[in-house]
């Protein structure tokens, strides 16, 4: 089946460019320039995935409002924030609103497509849980299912964003091997700076620590990057 993607973006040039590329990928695209327009359309039918800009025309936080409104309609609908805002605060706020991913507009179209594809793949895997496990990594308490985009620690699912997921995935794939910030950025399809990487790592640690206070597998190697530190005993 063809997925329908809703694109809510007030800048028409960007909107059309994104719509074009998504259509070329075979998605059905419905593009909206404002929140009201989108809500009217969503009232009759929800899309399969929504890409939402945060600042919509006159509404600075129109995207947040739309996200909340969509979440109230559907818990499982994948939502991606695509924004020019790149501060930690905005990212955290966006994810708290219930978005599945938060991307800055620097992202190249291939990266965007990859992230969208990843989300759809997660949806599909959840619908068909029996699907293969070739993409599964297990490292002690950690279990990562790349196809389902699912990460578990001590059998508890860790609710990671896509970015965070790919970072953990990248670190865990080769334990003990130091991943530089640049590498992490590349493998999680991010165009951000060191500071953002640092704060992502910090958030990932916190999410693991919420499940297991003794968690200390992500090690900082000053000046180089991070590595997954495998503790066999635990």
């Amino acid at each position: 089946m063809t997925y329908q993607i809703a694109l809510v973006e007030d800048e028409s040039a960007i909107r059309e460019n994104y719509a074009d590329v998504l259509r070329r990928q075979g998605y059905r695209v419905r593009a909206f320039g404002s929140r009201e327009e989108a809500q009217r359309a969503f009232d009759t039918r929800l899309p399969d995935l929504a890409v939402i800009d945060i600042g919509l025309a006159d509404e600075i936080d129109g995207g947040y409002a739309l996200c909340q409104w969509l979440r109230s309609r559907s818990q499982s609908l994948p939502i991606i924030f695509l924004s020019a805002r790149d501060s930690d605060f905005d990212v955290v706020s966006g994810l708290r609103m219930g978005a599945d991913d938060y991307l800055t507009k620097d992202i190249s179209l291939p990266h965007l497509l990859a992230r969208i594809a990843a989300l759809f793949r997660r949806m599909e895997v959840m619908k068909n849980p029996a699907d293969g496990n070739d993409e599964i990594i297990e490292r002690g308490n950690l279990r990562i299912d790349a196809r389902r985009v699912d990460c578990r620690w001590q059998e508890t699912s860790i609710n990671l964003t896509l970015t965070e997921f790919w970072m953990v995935h990248s670190l865990a794939k080769r334990t003990g091997h130091v991943k530089s910030r640049g590498q992490l950025m590349q493998e999680s399809n991010m165009v951000v700076d060191d500071t953002t990487i640092t704060s992502h790592i910090k958030r990932i640690r916190k999410k693991f620590e919420a499940v297991d206070p003794a968690f200390n597998c992500i090690e900082t190697v000053y000046g180089m990057g991070y590595r997954w530190h495998q503790e066999e005993a635990s």
């Binding site: 460019n17 605060f89 620097d106 179209l109 500071t195």
Partner: protein, 720 residues
């Protein structure tokens, strides 16, 4: 920094103007003194008038006005007996005549009564002094005679030798003539001689008249006493000289007037004791009261000018000086006039007292003057009033006082006024200086607040606390608070600018980028593909720049003191340098570390990030083939140095290289994305850890040292 001429000093200078208050008091008191002097003069004139009236109404005052009516005083004939101050011993010496010696009169060739032979002044001349003591008239003659011839022993004749003749009218108006002609030096008697002839015959001895004849080197002295009962106001003295003891012929007779002619006698003024007693009865305290006759001769005086305050004495007694005046009196004594403690004032010539006031009184009008005392520095106020007897001008009354009382009183007034004024001025100055001190304290506090409100880079560190002052300083402080708040806003705006800019630019970049991406997905011919790829590269670079631009802001947002932990700085540095050896394969890194640190409290990720920036900068500017040195030393603080060889910094660059968006070193920038944010980020991190960052040129060679000082054990938050 202390101002060189602060408000307090200025207030001190300003309060100098308060010195005008004592000065004004001083000049005011001068008026008062002048007033005192006027009052004294007027009072004295008033009193002398009263005294004159009192004397006029009294009976029995004889100033000898009848004798001198229409007669000009001739000092040769008209004699004056002065008041002797001591009792006189008849010994022929004048050492007890002090009070009257100045009144001696010389008689010589101009005073010849009769000349019988050739006369030169060497032959005979004499000094005559007359005085009164108690009820006697005293006479002292200093005769210069080249040859003294005494009366022959047993001779009844008293004129064929050196002799003295006295002629007088007794109080009843009868003429008498006496001769003193002793037979040898020593006590001598006087003989009453016939009044008609040349006086050669002695009628009888007059025992009431006593004399002493004392030979001297030049001649002889005669000292004689005549009871006042034998004397009235007509009198003459003559001396006859006989030089030849054989022939005994007289040579010359010299005298005040002819003693043989009753009508030719001169006058004699003897100071009146009755008048003196009368004056004593008048209650004229602290004053000298004199009565003179119409020729200015002192008839009587009573009282003394010395040692009293004159008309002010009672006032002085009633109003003693206050304690403040007494305390300050040594100061005032420096410039206030001093009263003469022992004023001495004697009439130069009691036989002829002068003065403008006296002249005025003797011509019929009372007058008061001030004059200097004769023998001291005191000033005398002298008031004279005409004295009339039976309607005729007979003389004058003179009242004299010193101005001492007025001076003392005036001094006290000046002292009191000035003492009060000084106290007022001091209180005023104290108030002004205190006020200035309070104001300057407020201003200093404001200054301190203001200076601490911004950091050395001029950024607003904290908002200014408003001072709780209701005055202009408070207003100023509020105004500064507003200004710094505005400045703060503006600074934030500027700091936000990079982020805003990156935000605003991101949308058009996205348009370009998504368009290029779309384009590259179409099948393109080779040349087009090359251009699209180049455009994509450019957009990628632009995107990186935008990311960097907002990095500092995002960094500040992640710097949460609550996340601080204790960590080993040496470990971080060692790890980082390992990383750099991998990251910059073309460069050598020299690391030296002291390990004896306490753990640092902070965010190790940030420290690493800071070191990243410093090393990136050092590598960028390092000359080819030279190592970058990283040193960690313990110098009370933890000191991290990143040293390279390469281009040096200008002074300006040293000061500003850690500011945002400043790229100060000349160098090739590989990626073109260098916006000078790296060092700015390093500074933010160093400052977040309570440290400092600074860059210096190397002294040993061309190159730069960047030094970061981080305080050890700085507790920004408690960590588990």
């Amino acid at each position: 920094m202390k101002p060189s001429f602060g408000l307090k000093s200025q207030a001190l200078v300003v309060s100098l103007i308060l010195l005008l208050v004592p000065a004004a008091g001083y000049f005011e008191s001068l008026q008062y003194r002048h007033g005192l002097s006027e009052i004294q003069q007027r009072q004295l004139l008033h009193r002398v008038h009263g005294t004159a009236s009192a004397l006029e109404s009294a009976k029995g005052i004889d100033l000898g006005v009848d004798l001198l009516a229409g007669h000009t005083l001739n000092p040769t004939h008209d004699l004056y007996a002065c008041m002797l101050s001591e009792s006189i011993t008849l010994d022929g010496r004048n050492n007890d005549w002090q009070a009257c010696n100045t009144l001696s009169r010389h008689y010589g060739k101009n005073n010849i009564i009769n000349v019988y032979q050739h006369y030169t002044e060497d032959t005979l001349n004499f000094l005559l002094t007359l005085g009164r003591r108690d009820e006697s008239l005293y006479l002292f003659l200093q005769v210069i005679d080249n040859s003294v011839v005494y009366r022959e022993v047993g001779s009844l004749s008293v004129h064929r030798n050196d002799h003295i003749q006295l002629a007088t009218m007794d109080p009843s108006g009868v003429y008498h003539r006496y001769t003193i002609a002793p037979m040898q030096p020593g006590p001598a008697n006087a003989f009453l001689v016939t009044s008609i002839d040349d006086g050669s015959r002695a009628l009888r001895e007059e025992p009431q008249i006593k004399a002493m004849w004392l030979p001297t080197q030049q001649g002889y002295n005669v000292e004689a006493r005549i009871p006042l009962s034998l004397v009235s106001n007509r009198f003459a003295v003559s001396v006859t000289d006989v030089d030849n003891a054989t022939t005994r012929e007289p040579i010359v007779t010299i005298g005040t007037a002819s003693t043989s002619d009753p009508a030719a006698l001169g006058t004699l003024l003897i100071p009146s004791d009755t008048l003196r007693q009368k004056l004593a009865q008048l209650d004229v305290r602290y004053t000298r009261l004199s009565v003179i006759d119409s020729n200015g001769r002192l008839v009587a005086h009573y009282g003394d000018i010395a040692g009293a305050g004159g008309i002010w004495q009672e006032m002085l007694d009633d109003h003693p000086p206050g304690w403040l005046t007494r305390v300050l009196s040594p100061v005032f004594a420096l410039f206030l006039p001093k009263p003469d403690a022992h004023p001495v004032d004697r009439p130069r010539d009691p036989a002829h007292i002068t003065g403008t006031d006296i002249a005025s009184a003797l011509s019929g009008a009372g007058k008061v003057i001030q004059r200097p005392a004769s023998d001291s520095g005191a000033t005398i106020v002298s008031a004279s009033w005409p004295l009339r007897v039976d309607g005729d001008l007979a003389g004058a009354v003179i009242l004299e006082q010193t101005t001492n009382g007025a001076i003392v009183l005036g001094n006290r007034f000046t002292a009191r006024v000035m003492a009060e004024a000084i106290v007022i001025a001091l209180l005023g100055a104290l108030a002004i200086v205190g006020f200035a001190g309070a104001t300057s304290r407020k201003l200093r506090r404001l200054r301190t607040n203001l200076e601490s409100a911004t950091d050395p880079q001029g950024r607003v560190r904290n908002t200014l606390p408003a001072l709780a002052a209701a005055d202009e300083v408070g207003e100023l402080s509020n105004s500064f608070a507003r200004v710094t708040a505005r400045l703060n806003q503006y600074n934030r705006y500027l700091e936000d600018m990079a982020r805003q800019l990156s935000h605003e630019l991101r949308t058009p970049v996205t348009v370009i980028r998504s368009s290029l991406d779309n384009l590259s997905m179409h099948s393109l011919d080779d040349p087009s593909r090359v251009y699209v790829e180049r455009a994509q590269e450019g957009v990628q670079r632009l995107s990186t720049i935008l990311t960097n631009m907002s990095e500092a802001t995002r960094l500040e947002e992640t710097m949460n003191p609550a996340d601080a932990e204790f960590f080993d700085l040496a470990d971080v540095v060692t790890g980082c340098v390992e990383g750099y050896r991998l990251a910059y394969p073309g460069h050598a890194f020299e690391l030296s570390i002291e390990h004896d640190f306490d753990k640092l409290n902070g965010l190790p990720d940030l420290i690493a990030q800071m070191l990243d920036k410093l090393v990136a900068n050092a590598v960028e500017f390092a000359s080819a083939g030279t190592p970058v040195k990283i040193r960690l030393t313990h110098e009370r603080d933890a000191v991290l140095r990143v040293i390279n060889n390469g281009p040096t910094l200008s002074n300006k660059a040293q000061a500003r290289m850690f500011d945002a968006m400043i790229s100060v070193r000349k160098g090739q920038q590989e990626d073109g994305s260098h916006l000078g944010l790296g060092l700015y980020i390093a500074r933010i991190i160093a400052e977040f850890h309570g440290g400092t960052i600074a860059a210096y040129n190397r002294e040993d060679t061309e190159g730069v040292i960047v030094t970061v000082r981080l305080p050890i054990m700085r507790i920004t938050a408690t960590t588990a």
